[in-house]
Each structure stands twice: as C-alpha cells, then as structure tokens.
Symmetry: C2
Amino acid sequence: MPAESYRVTFQPDGRSVFVLAGTKLIEAAGQAGIILNTPCGGEGTCGKCRVELLDHEPPPSEACLRHVSAKEIERGVRLACQLEVDRDLVVTVPERARMFDQVVLTDGTEHTVGLEPMVRKAYVQLAEPTIEDVRSDVDRLKAALGPRGRNVKVALEHVRELGPMLRKDGFKLTVVLHDNRLVKFEPGDTSRAAWGVAFDVGTTTIVGVLVDLTTGLRAGVASRTNPQIHFGDDVVSRIKYIEDHEHGLAELQKRIVNCLNDIILELAGEANIDLDCIYEATAVGNSTMTHILLGVNPSPIAHAPYVNVFRGPIDVGAPALGLDLNAYTNVHVLPNIAGFVGSDTVGVILAARLMHNEDVCIAVDIGTNGEIAIGNRGRIIVCSTAAGPAFEGARIRHGMRATEGAIDKVVIRDDVEVSVIGGGRASGICGSGLLDVVAELLRAGVIDTSGRILTGGALPATVPDAVRKAVTTFNGQPAFVLVDGHASKTAEPILLTQRDVREVQLAKGAIWSGIRVLCSEFGVEPQDVSRILLAGGFGNFLRRSNAKRIGLLPDVPTPRIEFIGNAAAVGARMALRSRTSRLEAARISVKAEYVELGTRADFQMLFMESMMFPEA
Amino acid sequence: MPAESYRVTFQPDGRSVFVLAGTKLIEAAGQAGIILNTPCGGEGTCGKCRVELLDHEPPPSEACLRHVSAKEIERGVRLACQLEVDRDLVVTVPERARMFDQVVLTDGTEHTVGLEPMVRKAYVQLAEPTIEDVRSDVDRLKAALGPRGRNVKVALEHVRELGPMLRKDGFKLTVVLHDNRLVKFEPGDTSRAAWGVAFDVGTTTIVGVLVDLTTGLRAGVASRTNPQIHFGDDVVSRIKYIEDHEHGLAELQKRIVNCLNDIILELAGEANIDLDCIYEATAVGNSTMTHILLGVNPSPIAHAPYVNVFRGPIDVGAPALGLDLNAYTNVHVLPNIAGFVGSDTVGVILAARLMHNEDVCIAVDIGTNGEIAIGNRGRIIVCSTAAGPAFEGARIRHGMRATEGAIDKVVIRDDVEVSVIGGGRASGICGSGLLDVVAELLRAGVIDTSGRILTGGALPATVPDAVRKAVTTFNGQPAFVLVDGHASKTAEPILLTQRDVREVQLAKGAIWSGIRVLCSEFGVEPQDVSRILLAGGFGNFLRRSNAKRIGLLPDVPTPRIEFIGNAAAVGARMALRSRTSRLEAARISVKAEYVELGTRADFQMLFMESMMFPEA
C-alpha cells in the first residue's frame, strides 16, 4: 500500500514533484531542482527561504512569525524550511529566495548581486568629428564607451562597417561587447535585449537555461534526453562507437548539437525573443560530453592513463559547433579538471562556493561516476569514483529511472510502505527507493552489515511479521518483496534481490571510499566535515538519514547534509552571468588537485572495507 | 655637358645608382636605399660602415687604418663614409654594416640584436601521459613550451588536431606560435623555416621585403608600381573613384592585393621558399592606402575634417584581405596617427628612433604630402603639409620622375653642368635636379629671394657669361635653359620656368612652414635641432647644402642632415622582426601629437613667409 504522497507544484517554473507526507517544503523544492537560499542550514534562523503559498494558509511557525511581516503572512508567505507538506500545494518561489539569485533592494530598483556578464551592450552617442577633433572613428567610439573603452578590440570586419554606419545614423548606435572585444553594431537603442543560454550537457539529460543578461534573471528552462543515448548509456560505449566508426565523432557531435538547437528554439519561443539577441552560451558536462560537443576526439579518455585532450576553458563561435546562433555568439565551455572530472564538477564546486569557506565542505555529485570534491578557501581536492549505474536504476533487477511508476521512497515499520512517482501502481524502483529499502532493511535487521539478506531462522525476532513474510528467494538467492504481483503495474512482484544489494554495496563503497581518500588527503575526519553538499538528480531525491545508514555518506548530523540541486547547471549559469565566476571556474580547474584512486596502493583494501554497511 | 658621373652597384642587393664624382660612398648607398650604420654621423670615428670593394683597392684613409684590420684592408674592406667615388664601383654591404641590422658575435654564432618576432616556432617532445601524470594533451603541450607556454592560447581547431597528431608521431611536433596564440602544428622539425614579408604600400610604389624570421636577415626585396595609379595619381582622386563607383572600393582593394600577391610570389620564388612558411606580413602606408588595403572605405579622409576610420593597428588573417597566404598568416598593419599622417610616418619615426634620443630630431618624408615629425624621448609632434608634387617632377614644365634621362644633379659655376641618370641625353628634370638648379641660381644671383628669375640689367655683374646667356623667356615669363635643344634627347631645350620656381616655392614653403610650426610647438629653434633625418625616395637624392640654400631645411651644419632611406619600409620590417618595435609603433601612434596646420590662425602668414628664399 503506497504511503500518502502529495504533489507540490513550483511557480513560475511550473515544475511538480511528488513527496511523502511530512517532507519539508524546502526538500520538495530541492527535488524539483529549485535550490533555496538557506545560509542558516534550514534552521529557521535566517528567514531567507520565503515562498508564497497559493490557496492554502497553514498556521505560521514561530520562526515564520519572527522573520515574515504580518502583511506578508496574510498574503501566504511562509518559510520553506519550516513547512511540512500535508496536502497538494502550489508554491511561488521568488527569485530572491533562490540560491545564487540573491537580489538586494537599492534605490527602489532590483539589482542582482554580482551581475557582470561578459556580454555588455551600450547605446552610445559619439562626438562628431570637427577640425579641432580629428580622432579616427574607432577612437571616438572607444572614447564614447567610457574608461573601459580604451581596451576594446575592434576587428577589421567591424572597422569596415563603422564609417558608413556612423554617418548614416547621426553617430549613434548600439555596441555589443564580449569582454573587451566588440562583436556587433546594432542600429538604434537595443541595449535592453541581451540573452544567454547556460547548458548542462549530461550523459543522460541535457538542460538549458535562458538568462536575461541585463537583469541576470532566469527566463526559462528546458531539457531533453541526450540523444546520444542511442549510442550507449555510458561515456565509454559512446567513445567506443566513435573509435569504431569513421564518422562516429561527427555523428555524435551532430546529435548533441541538434539537441542544443532544439532547446534554444524552445527557450527562445517560450520567452518570445529573437535568436539574434542571444550573445553567449556556456556549457558544462563531463569531459567526454564536452569533448564530443566541441568535436574533439575523446578517445584518450577511455584508455589508461585516461587523459583529456584539453582541460579548457574553450571559447569558440557558435557556428564552429553547428549551433543555430549567430557568428558573434560565443560559446564558453567551462574547464575540466582531469580525465573523469569534467567541467560539470567545476560547476558544482563553483555553485557550492567551496572556495569561499574557511570550513571544510564536501560536494558529491552521484551518477555513474561519482565526482567528489573536498575543500575550503585554501585547497580543493577532487576524485572520480566508478560508482556504477545502480543509483540510476541500471543493473538492478527491477530498477528504473525516477519516472512515473518508480518506487522512490520506502518506509518499513510494521509493514512495507512505498511511495510511487505519479501515485499509481509501481512498475519498478529508482535510485532513492533502492537506497531507502536497503537502509530500512538494515534497520529492521533483514540485511546484515556484510550485505547478506537474512532468511528464516537467521532473521532477528524483532522483525515484524509482515516484513518477515516479504523475505523470499529468487534464483536460489534471498530476495525481498517490495510490492506483490497483484499490486504492481506489471502483475509481477517487485523484488530487491541479493544481487541488487551487492550492486548497492559496490556503488556506495565507491563513493564512501572516495570520500575517505579525499578526507585523508585533506587531513580531516569525514565526520568533522562541516557540510556535505549533494548535487545532481539522485542527490536531490535521497533521504539523508538513509544515505548515512547505508554508509554512503559519513555519519554527520543530518542538517549538515544539504541538497544543492543541479549545481553543475547552476555553475554554467553563474559563468554566464558573471565574469568573476568564470575566472573562479578557471582557478578551480587549475587549483583543484586530482587524486587518481587507481594509483593508491591502499585503495583496493579501503574499497573492500567501504562496501560493508555500518553497524547501527 | 654632363658632369662626370659613375655607376655604383651594391651587393647582394644588386642595386645600382649613378653619382657625381666626389660623392661619398655612404651617400651613394643612401641613394640606393641602403642605409649604413653611422653612430658617429659619418665622421670616421665609429668604424661601423665597413663595406667591401670588388676589383678596386683605393688607399685606405687614416680612419680606415684605425678601424679596419690589415687583413680586412687587403680583402678590400673600407669605411664608406671616408671614400669618395672616383670610378665605377661594385660594393658588397654586409648585413652588420646596415642600419637596424646590427648583429653581434656571441659564442661564435651570429645573433641579430633585438630579433624577437611575433612568430616563434618550436620543435617539442612532450612527456607522454602515465597514470601518475594525467595532464591533458593541451596542458602537457604548454608545459613543453616552457615558462611562456602557460599563457599560450590554443583555439578549438588546434585542440581537435592535437590528440591524434601526438599519438601518431610519438608526442613530438613543431608548434608555430604568433605571440601567445598557437597558429599551427607541423609534423617533424620545421623550426628553421619561418618567414615574413614587410610591405610599404606607397601611393606610387609598393615595396615588399622578405625576412627570415629565424635570423632576422633580409632574404629579398621586390617592388612594383602601385596598380591603383590607373585610378589617379594621388589619394584624393582614388577616394573620389571609390565614392563614384558602387564597387570602387572592392576594385581598388583587389588591385592592391593582386600587387602584393605578385610581390609575394616573386620573393618566395627567388628565395625558393614555400608560401606555407610565411607566417606573418606587416604593412605601412599612408592612411588612404591602408584603408583601401584593408577594405575600409576611406571616404572620411577626403572630406573636412579629414578623419580616419581607424587609427589601428589592425591584425587580420591573410585570407580576409584576399592575400594568397594561409589562414594562419597574420597581417599586421601598423597604426596611423591622424588623417594624413599614416602608418608610413609611424614607420619613419620608428626607424629614425625618434623616441630613443634625448636630443631633439626632425624626420621629414617629402612626397606629395610632406609628413614631418619632431621629437625626442619625451614628446613627439607630427604634421602633414600639402607640399604638392613638384619634387616628384609633376606640375613642372620639364619635370619627370627620377628615371633614366632625368637631370638629377646640377652644378652652376662658370657654366651649367648637369648629371643625367643613365649617363645619356637629358629628357627632363627630376626633383633633386630641380632643387639643385634653384639653389645654384640663387647662389649665382639669377634668382632673387622673392623667387623672381632676373633678366637683362637686373642680373648681377658677377653672373658668368655662359650662365647669363642661359636666361631666356618662355610664354612671356623669364626662364632658364638647362640643356640646349641640340643636346637634349627631345631636341627641345630643357627649361626652368618662372612658374616652375613658384611651384618649388610652394613645395618648400609647405615643408619649411611645417618644420617651423613643429619647432615652435616643441619650443626649439629650427637651427638648434640636433639632427634632421630625410626619409623617402626624394629625401635620399637631394643635395643637403642645396636643400638648406633654398630654405627647404633649416640652416644647420650639413652633417646634421642624414639620409635614412625608405624608413617607412624599414619601420614595417622592424615591426615584423621585433615585438618591441611593434609595441613602440603602437606607442608612437598614441603618443604623437598631431598638429592640424589648417586650424592655426598664424599658418597662412607663416606659409607666405616660408615661400621666400633665404638670403645668402
């Protein structure tokens, strides 16, 4: 019997998620990829995570009363960290409540903190030449651009345009600059129309975010399944395809670019903007994805010693990639760190502000490869662990992606309660559900610390009858029934097999051993780390106490484990909005020390140990 | 009767000139456009201007004995500043004797001083990746390039090439760098093949110099008449053509580029080098020429207030101009200063090292427009004066260019002696001859300080009979017979008319008033200037004492007036050979103060005065 779950819809994003009753609203937002700004760590003491509820006015919490005005409370404003979901909700999340979108009110106008895109537009009136002022056209243009104009580089193609353009329009025009490079003249005043797109090119999913570069605000989000999926689920099979086919690279590059073009069209269409006003795109991805996106053969990544061809960053005109954007549109691909630690990890470190803290934090992006970073202001160390695809539902008997019909939460007390995405019948189990069931069975004593599913007399007496009855066998190995055949969508029982538990052990062992190596390199105990930041799709769906229970994460107080959403995409967006962030990304890429786990003599032993589940 | 003149041929340039007996060899070299290195000002005290005579061993001068070893003297080495031409000569001028080509001997190898071209080639062996060294291909390439490698920019097209190239060739390759930009990979070791071409794009003549960028040495020189000459002699008529014809700019641009392509082919053919190994070209020219070369409409230059579209410098890939060079070949056009003071003047200031001296020097490039620069380490002021084409032989009754048949020297004592280029019969008079005859007639008292040609009783009694007889009339105005009809090639007398004298007055008045304005702006008296440097074709042929006599130049001791040859082209070559020179050119362009003579209330008065000839 599915546990009670509710639909929470976030506006203006229009994104909905299903959560179990009692889930904090701030976690629900995290699941929807909307990361709220919580400097206090969700303790209710900072008052930053203010959202507005539609059609529902729950009694305000004490913290809410302290931080929110009576007038706002009347309007439905509440603190997301204090509110537990107990019904379907529609919630408006203002930009100011979102992480990395902090805005401050000055002089009655909203200014986004740190908005300093590489693209600047300026509508300028030039001094007309006189016999006393015989500066060249280019010089007077530079002067009109102010103190920074002096260093502006004007390429010959624009020099050719300038003379006639000035003399036609009374020496007035709009100038588009990319950093200190002039990229375009536009007649009239078009200075308010400037857009950019930030991409996260994942192995599985590609996300694009449209950003208004004059305000820094997000104007739209669109995503697609990476169409390269037809060439293999993982990066290695895609590299193999490239190696085995003469035009493989071009083929895969085209697929990815077509997908980006689709996303651009959707974003521009929905925001009703002209493609000519998109002046820059940024992108993050794992090394293989960005190599392919850029048309660079990724073959060396797949073979020992697994090196990248470039570390980056790379700047290139959109047409060189085949993007349906203008020649003046720059594409900036954030830098990599090492073979399997790509610009997506740089994006995570950037978004997590790892380099801004005195305290030591860990950021984990769990996927087929788990990228882990530890660090503070002084030092950053990263590694990549081959976690395998278990948490993405692959190689699991009834595993599936986190889509409709997937069991995404499991609670085992007197009985086995599951939550199914979409609320209908279960057809499989996704990563977060898998983590839940293993943790709950550990708690119930059905699985022991070595990972064995206990059967018959080996089961502790404390195991409730309903749970005890769910223990069965499959292919001669113990297994556990999550949903009976008569309750499942497939009419077959949905099982957790012994083999599934082993896959979970391999996956969690990889992450946990990676964390342990990084902590040891950094000289800190895992439990002493001040915050553990979970990025990426899976990270945002897992239950933190369960992640600790199976030993995926160290045993720190739960509030120290934070969801930071699709931090890689946030990093791409930060680099689009702010040159300082872009420079920081470059510094991260250079500064981050890469630990190659394979070269450590003690790693195999550590990995073996890390596969064990912790004692209760 | 032509005065005795001799042919002097300079090797390895293969250039010949005719000079009057008694001309210093160093001046003859100057006429041939070969400027010798004379830090001592031709006093015989520095011993730098050592040349080698073939088939002739004149007795060595005292200075020669002091500076040249006995062994060298035996080989025919002499100081060019001490030797007067008294027969036909063939002279070899070593690179080390040439200005701006100073070489020093270190460790037994010749290194050219200040050789630091923007183009560098390096043959590198990269460390191969290992599991302990997982740097990206690009990072290991940068490391192999040494300390400066870190800042090298690698564009995506080269990133794409790099991976396969390294793995095919054992991680060895030749890298071509332009400044800190990687422009090309070449398999194997090609580091010794790097060439560049420096162009001087004159209104009348285009010169190209091929330079070996690994040694800095000149490998060839070629020149052509500017094919735009069909569209008008001067820049204004060419601009008019562009304004009157829809495709005029493209047409004129194509002409100039075709000419450059011809020169490149000739240079490459003679030096037997591959066009692929030409990595850079530099160019100077007046503003109109460089605007047209770059495809920038020069129309604003022709209309008050006469501004340039760009001041520059401009860097652009060769294909964007239509040059038959590779895409990686950069074309660097040196910067302009103002409307009629182009990059050719920047080249002159650079070559004359005006910014290197504490002493105040003047550089004058006499052409249809006379560009004048005054300055020292602290300050540079420039102007352009409309000298008119008199010194190029235009608007003069029997004027012609300095080619075979032109009277290029005139001496008047008891009789009228003329030297004719080529040694045959005279068919006209060129600029230097014109200057001579006016000066000589002033000395003889045939012309008075107001410029009038005196006749009959007005002639002083001291005028020799033969000279007195040469005074005649033409169209009712006084005139002077240089060569009788029976001695000329045209069978008509070659005359200096009163109108010709007026043209000379206009031309010299323009230059002289420009010099006076600049000296006044600078706060120095013209006669106190420490050196006057004469650049360009005409400057190298005139007789300095005569230039002073007519008041073209201030009355300073003659050794202070120096010929610096085609200094504009030397400037282009310096910018090709040395990034320091290129930066200096940019500084000159920014720092030079432009004086617009037209805006000065006192200029008309000054110009009127300047047209008068000085008292004896």
